[in-house]
């Protein structure tokens, strides 16, 4: 059914890597941001910044997810504008295969970026012994998948490739403000709390923070369910509004 998926995915990986600027932007940016933040907050166990310091790993993970989604939106917009999506669709490749290849590439680079981030941040953060790296990686991939689904909706509505990056940034990054990172959701103004309830990032942050602090998955069933719902809704929505040309 998904004929050509692996070949197409492999080609998309190679094509992505052949553009150094794109790789540096997508993979390098979150890592650099993480290291900078770690230097500011991570090294000093001062009381005031202790709580912020604890959030930095989750923040880093969220940056990775958003960076992957931004990259997806841009790629899709460029492919649509260039008629590449249309050309691929005029083959026996199924539409699902074409999009799935991009999702797999983004998830792969999400995992790679996380690995780099952990390596680069060793001086500031080490994975707590009770937390398994596999578990944290899984939490990140799962969160990313959910946000990627939003990415497809955004990619459906951006008019041209030029707008993809700015529109994606404007939609995605403000979500951090009411996601419960740095400032707990309870401490936010009422309007932002309501926004937090419907934004997927809130659940992603809660999941990532929890897993980093050593929670089991069973403590985050609600977050997982919420992310699944977002994924389902956005996938259904984008299958209706997605434009191939």
């Amino acid at each position: 059914m998904l004929r050509g998926l692996w070949k197409l995915t492999w080609i998309e990986i190679k094509v992505f890597v052949r553009e150094p600027l794109g790789v540096i932007g997508t993979v390098g940016m979150p890592v650099v941001a993480f290291v900078v933040l770690s230097r500011v907050f991570g090294g000093r166990p001062t009381r005031g910044v202790a709580r912020i310091a604890a959030d930095v790993p989750a923040f880093g993970a969220i940056l990775i997810a958003l960076s992957a989604v931004l990259s997806l939106i841009t790629v899709i917009a460029i492919y649509r504008e260039g008629g590449i999506l249309k050309r691929l669709r005029a083959t026996p490749l199924s539409p699902v295969t074409i999009l799935a290849a991009h999702v797999i590439v983004k998830l792969l680079f999400t995992a790679i970026t996380l690995g780099l981030m952990i390596a680069a941040g060793k001086r500031y953060y080490t994975l707590p012994p009770e937390v398994s790296l596999a578990s944290f990686t899984l939490a990140l991939l799962f969160s990313t998948l959910s946000v990627l689904a939003i990415g497809f909706v955004i990619a459906s509505v951006v008019p041209t490739a030029r707008f993809a990056q700015p529109v994606g940034t404007i939609v995605l990054y403000p979500m951090i403000a009411c996601s419960g990172l740095f400032v707990p959701v309870d401490a936010l103004p009422a309007a932002m709390q309501r926004a937090a309830q419907v934004l997927p990032l809130t659940y992603a942050v809660s999941l990532l923070k929890g897993i980093w602090q050593g929670d089991g998955w069973s403590a985050h069933v609600g977050d997982v369910a919420a992310l699944l719902i977002v994924f389902g809704l956005c996938t259904a929505l984008s299958s209706r509004v997605f434009r191939w040309e």
């Binding site: 050509g4 070949k7 080609i11 094509v15 553009e19 492919y79 008629g83 590449i84 005029a90 490749l93």
Partner: protein
Amino acid sequence: MSSPIVHVSGIRKTYGRTVAVADVSFDTHEGEIFGLIGPNGAGKTTTLECVEGLRRPDSGAISVLGLDPAREKSRLQGRIGVQLQEAQLQKRIKVWEAVDLWASLYRRPLDGGRLLDQLGLAEKRNAWFMTLSGGQKQRLFIALALINDPEVVFLDELTTGLDPQARRAIWDLVRGIRERGKTVVLTTHLMEEAERLCDRVAIIDHGRIIDVDTPAGLVARHCPDRTVVLAADDPAAEAAFQAIPRVDGVSHDGGRFTIRGRGDDLVTNVIQCLSEHRIRVTDFRTVMPTLEDVFLTLTGHSIRD
């Protein structure tokens, strides 16, 4: 005659208020190069994309190789080859990667390496798509359209933007496709291309087919005028030319005569007259109407407007 490879009957396609295709019908037969010619916005691409199953017409019927493109798209896709107007590939995909991917999608693909060889792309197999010239990109698209050894190939504006030399090379490739027994349906707004390449052409304007025939047939039916220009220094010549059947007028300017008439026999008749009257000729030229003139006659405007 055997049943048509492509049968299009009364299709219509609108985008909002724009009527892209108003009423198009034509048949394409096995082994021919069939051309859709018309100006920008005439509805060529829309028609072709309906036939390829990429768009669904609002009304009308299409059958390709006996299949309904809208309903049996996946069955059809294995048997047709498609080149899209203005399509691109990933900028940094290598030539061989594209061919390899396409080949993996079909049950019985041709040998990709040999195909690239035949299309003159062998030494470009490791080049990125973005580094190819316009003509090389079109060759690659032809390769991708042929990889599944299709029975019918659709080519949309294959040579637009190419220089005359690259264009001629592509024409030879398209003739090569016909030689392999395949049917080719192409679009162009270059009259010269249609005239040289197509066995039959459909003239399309404002979403309607105006006429379908061989290029020569269209010229013969719609533009029967013929002109012979010759140089002779015989004072009796003018009267002799006037007497040729179906001559509408003779003018001369010094030793140059311009003979206007109609019908395919005009040139023969002029030559016969020259030999009968032993008129000595130092220059002889015929001016034939082209598809360009046919288009002008049929639509009242030039294809470039």
